[in-house]
Amino acid sequence: MSALTLFEKLWRAHEVVAETPETPAVLYIDLHLIHEVTSPQAFSMLRSRGIGVRRRERTFATMDHSTPTDRAQLFGAVPIRMESAAHQIHELERNCADFQVELLGLKHARRGIVHIIGPELGLTQPGKTIVCGDSHTSTHGAFGALAFGIGTTEVGHVLATQCLLQRKPKTLGVEVEGPLPAGVTAKDLVLAIIHTLGVGGGTGHVLEYLGPTIRALSMDERMTVCNMSIEAGAKAGLIAPDETTYEFLQGRERAPSGAALERALESWRQLPTDAGARFDRTLSIDASRLAPMITYGTNPGMSVAVTGTVPVRLDDRVHTKALEYMGLTAGQPILGQPIEYAFLGSCTNGRLSDLRAAAGLLKGRKVARGVTFLVVPGSQEIKREAEAEGLDRVFIEAGADWRESGCSMCLGMNGDLVTKGAYCVSTSNRNFEGRQGVGARTLLASPITATASAIAGRIADPRELMN
């Protein structure tokens, strides 16, 4: 048998009907994650056709985008301020009740960002196909699952048939070698990869991250890398499962155990890309040469080392327009740029290890005067774990704002917004114009760069606070 990539194995195992020149493949979906923003119109479609959900046990809902991070609103002491958000939340409650879909609702102890709680509960497993009406579904690829974002019409397709019509994407192997230097994180690595590929460079491709640097990453770090695959335009990001993956899944409530786990392990161990398997394209990155990265422009590919300067590109109108929006000057050092906000959270960097790293820098220090530092755990479980370790005290005592879980300021749908013209160092995934609020200026960076900057009140190099 010929040598196959991880992607090829996942694809073949889920073909209900193979593709032909005239028709796309019918691809089976093992796990369908649902949230309040991209599902209402899909449930409406089911109602108008008079059909139900084909596989309720493979469908799992939560709410994260429009949900308040303010405790009083979340737990009902006061009404949810934004009426449209409340309506969307209630609509999901109604849809899940009517169609008998499991929902981790607003006040549920295990609620959180959909891409955080899937792995946390052990729902996300190697070998699965996983979709969600959300582009950051690529996160789950960190487990060796084929996971990608879909639109609402496709959410309807999966609800109705548990399948999607798909053309087979191409593959791109991203080989990463060399150890990450101190102060350089998985976030910096993925920002560097996106910078190299460009924001459209991965279009039509599934990325597989390979090499010793990737193998040495924790699951949290792997999820950060796969999460941002979409920012290079990629269909999905993948990392082959290994002992790190299996250890992470051990004992998780929705992961297999006992004899089922033994059987699962046997099949999971067959998944990694075979020696000699070919990718359509490849890319090599030397991680040992990287520095902490930060974006200066209006897409995630526009980044520099935090010690670098804003690039000069005289004839590039898009570049000029981006700098105009960001209020930055070509050639200026990015270090020292004053900021008004820092945001720690999101499906990219809202995990316990991210909070620990930030708290480690913040302990005994203060958030600069004039800086709002919003800290939003990725799930209620992470919030509890962080509180059990006393991380919340570190954040609160330093002057940060410690919140309930959700997508929050990554896209501000719940009203957690950056004001017009203000600068925000954000651990999230997109720095598009207006992403964090109309006129908001987002600089994407790692949790430790965001924290160091919150302390300094200006863009700072986290390595200066690390001894």
């Binding site: 209900v16 009907v17 020149p21 005239e22 028709t23 796309p24 019918v26 089976y28 923003v37 991209t38 209402p40 119109q41 409406s44 479609m45 056709r49 084909r54 985008h65 449209s84 958000a85 309506h87 969307q88 009406g133 959300d134 582009s135 974002g149 879909i150 639109g151 609402t152 019409t153 496709e154 309807g156 397709h157 109705a160 048939t161 548990q162 399948c163 999607l164 019509l165 053309r167 994407p169 924001v199 459209g200 279009t203 039509g204 979409i230 920012e231 335009g233 269909k235 897409n299 898009v318 327009k321 896209l411 501000g412 749908m413 997109r430 598009f432 114009e433 207006g434 992403r435 109309v438």
Partner: protein, 192 residues
């Protein structure tokens, strides 16, 4: 869905590269639970000032843009979020086709399910279109050609099944539902 055969329209040009779906439909408009009426919010932050007044020099606010059904956009159009509210908004506004050198995967898939044609052309054709806003083009879906006066008929590739569905008004959900026997058989095989 209504079958689509030809689209004949003047073009609107937005030359910027990497126009993302957050620009096409800002997140604050995603709190809706229907798909209607999103055209009014299309490109909201480029189209209106803080008071909600139209910004005169934004292309969609110019008299020439009125009634145009074809948007010519810079490289890598509609990257970012998977929000189907982006093609819903473009369609509701009146667009029936988007032309670029590259169009992001999820948006392309979403567009095809909503009667909005994502058309990818080569650099030279794109440059000619960008240089001449208001050109009256004809898109013939059956022949998969884009006819540009002075340039001629340029062939484009559109995924065969989506093209079939658009030409014949076939809905993909219905097609998938009709695969139920194959899906049953897969489930028996895979989860035995």
């Amino acid at each position: 869905m209504e079958p689509i055969r030809t689209i004949r329209s003047r073009t609107v040009v937005m030359a910027r590269t990497n126009i993302d779906t957050d620009q096409i439909m800002p997140a604050r408009f995603l709190r809706t639970t229907t798909r209607e009426g999103l055209g009014q919010h299309l490109f909201a932050d480029w189209r209106y000032d803080a008071l909600g007044n139209p910004i005169a020099d934004f292309v969609l606010n110019t008299p020439e843009a009125a009634g145009c059904q074809v948007l010519v956009a810079g490289h890598n159009f509609a990257c970012g979020s998977s929000r189907e509210h982006a093609p819903w908004g473009l369609y509701d506004y009146g667009f029936r086709a988007v032309i670029s050198t590259e169009i992001a995967d999820i948006f392309r898939s979403n567009s095809l399910k909503n009667g909005l044609l994502p058309i990818i052309v080569d650099e030279a054709t794109h440059a000619a279109l960008i240089a001449a806003p208001g050109t009256e083009v004809t898109i013939d879906l059956e022949r998969s050609t884009l006819d540009i006066p002075g340039v001629g008929a340029v062939a484009f590739v559109i995924e065969a099944f989506a093209r079939y569905c658009l030409l014949n008004g076939v809905d993909e959900t219905g097609y998938l539902l009709a695969q139920s026997r194959a899906i049953d058989a897969y489930e028996q095989r895979a989860f035995a």
